[in-house]
Symmetry: C3
Subunit: 269 residues, 3 copies
């Protein structure tokens, strides 16, 4: 069981070390992702040219691979960057946005898993099930099923890939195939803000940059997301203002609140 | 004359069916467009790789083609996606951002009209006049003239292309070349928020996804935009906060308000 | 010494003439940049296709070259656009985002300086020192040093390039290598909003479009940024809401406030 005080330690570590998180991510969410990383205390950089991704990885502490608006050149950059990240020993967090929606996405996701060897995979329930080759169809980039139905797929995927797998949803699940945690923080308005899942991926990367226990890093991240989401949602009239109140909530987030309100438990061991 | 109750029906239909709207759109507005579609109740997806656009269209209910930050590869994807959309019989909404500003934009817009056969074309007055080959110069992406001066161009364009043409501006005009509607909702602050026109295009697509009467779908969309704009503008200190209050207004929009406050009339039949 | 009334004159000139600013900029900040330019009274356009950048420059009053998310095709467009801008005699404002972080960025920045001959270069302290070949390492896109340590590098760079060089930071410095101004407006929350530096570059371009005294244009711009930042920061709970309150502050900015509160001085002549 994760020591509750470790969550506080992790958040403080992000703020002290301000780890550089290199994002090869989609056009829709770049601005939010950068702002979320700054707000939590990390340092974001976005760079995708094959001419520089390896050098950027070499000054970074974590790498985010997000295939939301993918194209062949970007996938090439993702693979190059990941190989540099593996060599350097920094965590790679993969966000398989929209996998299950088109054959091309399925093919690219399989390639990325094989070549990039992600340390952590974060997706919604449909995406995790699609990756585990369950017969599920993603509706564009939105999930068509609830997170708890994907837990077995996540465990299978974790075993196959040696990655920690994170399902985000009304309840979040984090598993390495053996131990499985559930995090219950969050707000129903979160899926109505575009890119909230992508932000979760980036926040996972920020924690993974400072905590090599990737299950614990992921639990810290998802609890942070959920609690900030609850706060932002209660301050907002809708998903528009929520988007920026969420950034404010991350910025004003104190480590004590995280320790106090993180609602996580082991569901299986 | 459009039955006022049909507007309510249309908005409710978007929320019940949550149609998937596939956007091949510009970098500037992707985030706003996605959030606006989520807020109104639709499901957005952004994808531009030629490797997948046809497959994405095959799970979508409407396609948006927006040439704001165009380049040859993206135009190729737009044409591929449109051909799939024609085959599938789903509406294609074309936003000719900045047409009239450069010869390349003019050429691409002509190609798109010829090859993609858009169901609906939405632009500002300058853009619609440029498409109709009037001798008008667009100032970058902003209109240089008021919407009512472009009505004849819109009618001409509608007849030539068999598309419903929507001019957005202080007053919006919707025409198929025969019947012309005017929608008078809106706020003067709307053109100061970048991409508000692109958002209108996406909202038109959401309505077109659930209402095959494309004039009625467009009137529903422009009234929705205008009323939400009035609400957001009265809540905002400037165009910055307006951008997100507008998303909140779409989210909180009730169908009764739309039926009650939609200010549309036939100006010609 | 800059005449204080000239600042008021400059801001009014932007609002009267609404100069078209053509941006070849990075994906992360496009939306904010466009909104900031609209809010101050200018007219933004984003276009990067080599097929049209020269034509777009030909209707523009200033060009922004920002290498935040660079790739070879975009660099090619930047060079083409700059050559058209030189021919037309409009100012080119270069933002060397992240120079010093990777060899590729260093190489591209050197090429841009050699080929595009920027009129004004705006960067943070690390970036300006990297451009002046000081032995400094940029942390992704964030500065690792304070602005005053970079003043000598800025002067050297200005002499070498014949550009006005602007260092933004807690204090801003503007120099042509001989005369150096310091601007002390601003808020500590500004670096926590992603792309605030890129916004500064765009606002510099808006002023340069209407004032050929590029030191004065840059001082006007940095004072405008700083005062709007102070206002927005005092209205905000964090960097999320600050991002949009800043746009509102630009929009509501009156020329009298600028004249009154601009905190600039000559530090060297």
């Amino acid at each position: 069981m994760i020591d509750r005080d470790q969550l506080k330690h992790n958040l403080n570590a992000i703020r002290e070390k301000s780890p550089l998180v290199h994002n090869i991510t989609n056009y829709v969410v770049m601005n939010n992702t950068a702002n979320a990383l700054l707000a939590i205390g990390a340092s974001p950089v976005m760079a995708h040219a094959i001419e520089e991704v390896e050098d950027m990885v070499n000054i970074a502490s974590a790498l985010v691979i997000n295939m939301g608006t993918l194209s062949p050149q970007w996938v090439e950059a993702m693979i190059l960057a990941s190989k540099a990240a593996i060599k350097k020993g920094i965590p790679i967090v993969f966000d398989p946005v929209g996998v299950g929606a088109t054959p091309y996405r399925n093919k690219v996701a399989a390639t990325i898993i094989a070549e990039c060897k992600p340390t952590i995979i974060r997706g919604n329930a449909s995406e995790i099930m699609a990756l585990a080759n369950d017969n599920v169809k993603t509706k564009g980039v939105d999930s068509t099923t609830s997170s708890n139905t994907a837990v077995n797929s996540a465990k299978l995927l974790a075993k196959e890939t040696n990655a920690v797998v994170v399902i985000s949803g009304e309840e979040d699940y984090i598993t390495d195939g053996k131990t499985t945690y559930k995090v219950k923080n969050g707000s129903k308005m979160m899926p109505l803000v575009t890119g909230m899942g992508c932000t979760a991926t980036a926040i996972v990367a920020a924690y993974a940059a400072i905590d090599k226990d990737y299950i614990r890093a992921s639990v810290s991240a998802m609890a942070t997301m959920g609690i900030a989401g609850e706060k932002a949602s209660s301050d907002s009239n809708g998903p528009g203002t929520m988007q920026l109140n969420f950034i404010d909530a991350l910025y004003n987030f104190d480590a004590y609140t995280l320790t106090q309100f993180a609602a996580f438990q082991i569901v299986e061991e």
